[in-house]
């Protein structure tokens, strides 16, 4: 069996983040999405490291599926967020 790549192995690698617009450490990218890797992690890192191997070794298939759900259209996300905020307000 292949040796596992430690989850923090690439933490100090540095790359420009297209989503936010400045340089970041890999440590941010692997936690960005509710504690899981950023959905753009493959886009950004595939040129510098074997990102697919890293993801496969460190995350479950269902986590990977969750990470790479396509981004929702903004309007759709907005409806969802309005509903969430309204529900949270009712509970208060």
């Amino acid at each position: 069996m292949e040796k596992k790549i430690p989850i923090d192995f690439y933490d100090n690698e540095d790359l420009y983040c297209r989503k936010l617009g400045h340089h970041l450490k890999f440590e941010y990218c692997r936690k960005e999405h509710d504690g899981l890797p950023c959905p753009k992690i493959r886009d950004c890192w595939f040129e510098k490291l074997d990102i697919d191997e890293y993801l496969t070794q460190n995350f479950k298939p269902e986590e990977i599926a969750y990470i790479f759900e396509p981004p929702k259209p903004k309007i759709t996300s907005l409806f969802e967020l309005i509903q969430k905020a309204q529900q949270a307000r009712k509970k208060q």
């Binding site: 936010l20 999405h33 040129e47 396509p70 307000r89």
Partner: protein, 459 residues
């Protein structure tokens, strides 16, 4: 030789153009998870009614209030340039024009909607606008707009960006916007995250949640949220670009435009230039209208028009959009702001009706075009804008081959001075072209089979 065509303030268009009533196939309403249309009232907690009215309007022309015009005068009318130097470099008989939206205070087309949105909110009684920002482009544009109308603007900026990227933050502060790091202690969403991890660097998703929550949670109703893309009223406000351009072309005696080009991510800058020309096309004009997208993520060029569920769980409302399906995972590529899963419904509708012809271009060709443009015309364009430049060069070369003196027009939607890394990578040879394999595309398309389809044109 006239390189730039200006309009005076008095010559500025007095109405925006709304494409919705002119689409041969009326735009179907957004659908909820139950398959029923979503009411625009669902937007009322975050948008003022005057903007919601524009969002659902079927009026072709909507008056631009004089007060809004007075605000737009800060940088509008924007100049129309004739790209003589680029034409000479290419040796083309074509005439290339570009509408220069990089001259706005924020450096892009974004203030064209930020300013009216702020003004309409002010009229409605809104006292505060919230929004989210990552790189800070939209946050800057909205802060600028807030300063013009006297509206408080609160921008939730992802904390790591807030800490590491000072320039846009300073722009927002300079215009009077309040820029706070997200997650913040001001919202339930922010507090929940901070309790779990006080040192979290945040994310764009959290920042959006906070901005919407603050608007929804204000019991006075005087806090609203602003969005800079996708929605119909955003497209409407941007049509000032194309309407000005038509006047400028007329002013210098150009009677006919052959090709109109814009890059298309969410669709707003493309819509802004092209919709007034689509109006002409609907009324008989022969114009090729081309939205350009990255070849690696063919949202418009190869995907079917379908009602797409926004997520894998199929739990959220649906909008009719050109989409690769809810299971589509985009391949790796650096393509700036063009990586959207869905296109604005009005743009999708225009594709569906055969009014516009999308084109995909590989990123290496785009950067090559952008560099050529910078070395001839002088402007370093934004990475997204480079797609429009590349398409214009393609058309100019085609005109040369055909020996035709075509008139080509494109939208220079923004400068790239805050986003030079793509250029750096291009020069370092670190960018790669990547096309979506056919089998992956077919797999994605299969995932939306069986979903309700919108009505199709008889064309």
């Amino acid at each position: 030789m006239q390189i730039k065509v200006f309009l005076s303030e008095d010559e500025m268009p007095r109405q925006w153009y709304n494409l919705a009533p002119d689409l041969p196939t009326p735009l179907p309403p957004p659908l909820g998870p139950d398959g029923k249309p979503v009411s625009p009232d669902m937007l009322a907690p975050v948008f003022p009614m005057n903007l919601i009215e524009q969002e659902v309007s079927q009026e072709r022309w909507i008056d631009i209030p004089e007060e809004v015009l007075a605000l737009l005068y800060r940088w509008r009318p924007s100049p129309l340039h004739r790209a003589y130097a680029l034409e000479k470099y290419l040796g083309t008989p074509a005439k290339i024009y570009y509408k220069n939206e990089s001259v706005s205070p924020a450096g892009s087309h974004k203030p064209n909607t930020a300013v009216p949105q702020a003004w309409y909110n002010k009229q409605f009684g809104t006292e505060k606008l919230t929004t989210e920002t990552g790189a800070g482009q939209w946050g800057s544009a909205l802060s600028f707009a807030g300063a013009l109308v006297g509206l408080e603007v609160k921008v939730y900026m992802v904390r790591i960006s807030f800490d590491q990227k000072p320039f846009r933050k300073v722009m927002m502060q300079t215009w009077g916007g309040t820029c706070v790091p997200s997650p913040s202690p001001y919202t339930e969403a922010g507090r929940r995250i901070l309790e779990k991890d006080p040192d979290t660097p945040g994310s764009l998703g959290i920042a959006i949640s906070e901005a919407v929550e603050e608007a929804v949670s204000d019991p006075s109703g005087k806090t609203k949220y602003a969005l800079g893309s996708v929605l119909n009223h955003v497209m409407l406000h941007q049509t000032i670009i194309g309407l000005e351009t038509k006047k400028q072309l007329e002013k210098i005696g150009e009677k006919k435009v052959d090709v109109v080009i814009g890059c298309a991510g969410g669709g707003s800058n493309f819509a802004g230039l092209s919709f007034p020309f689509i109006y002409d096309k609907i009324n008989g004009a022969q114009i090729d209208i081309i939205p350009v997208e990255p070849a690696s993520c063919p949202t418009m060029t190869r995907a079917p028009y379908a009602y797409d569920f926004g997520d894998v769980a199929k739990m959220t409302p649906m909008l009719p959009m050109h989409s690769l399906g809810h299971e589509f995972v985009p391949p790796p590529i650096h393509a700036g702001g063009l990586r959207y899963h869905g296109m604005a419904p009005l743009v999708s509708g225009a594709i569906n009706d055969g009014l516009i012809t999308p084109r995909a271009i590989h990123q290496l060709e785009c950067y090559e075009a952008a560099v050529t443009f910078a070395r001839t015309e002088g402007i370093i364009v934004a990475p997204e804008t480079s797609h429009a430049v590349a398409a214009a060069i393609q058309e100019a070369k085609k005109a040369k081959e055909e020996g035709k003196e075509k008139v080509i027009l494109f939208n220079l939607s923004g400068h790239g001075l805050m986003d030079l890394l793509g250029y750096e990578k291009y020069f370092a040879g670190e960018l790669h072209d990547y096309a979506l394999p056919e089998e992956e595309l077919q797999k994605s398309i299969k995932s939306i089979e069986g979903l309700p389809k919108p009505p199709t044109s008889n064309k």
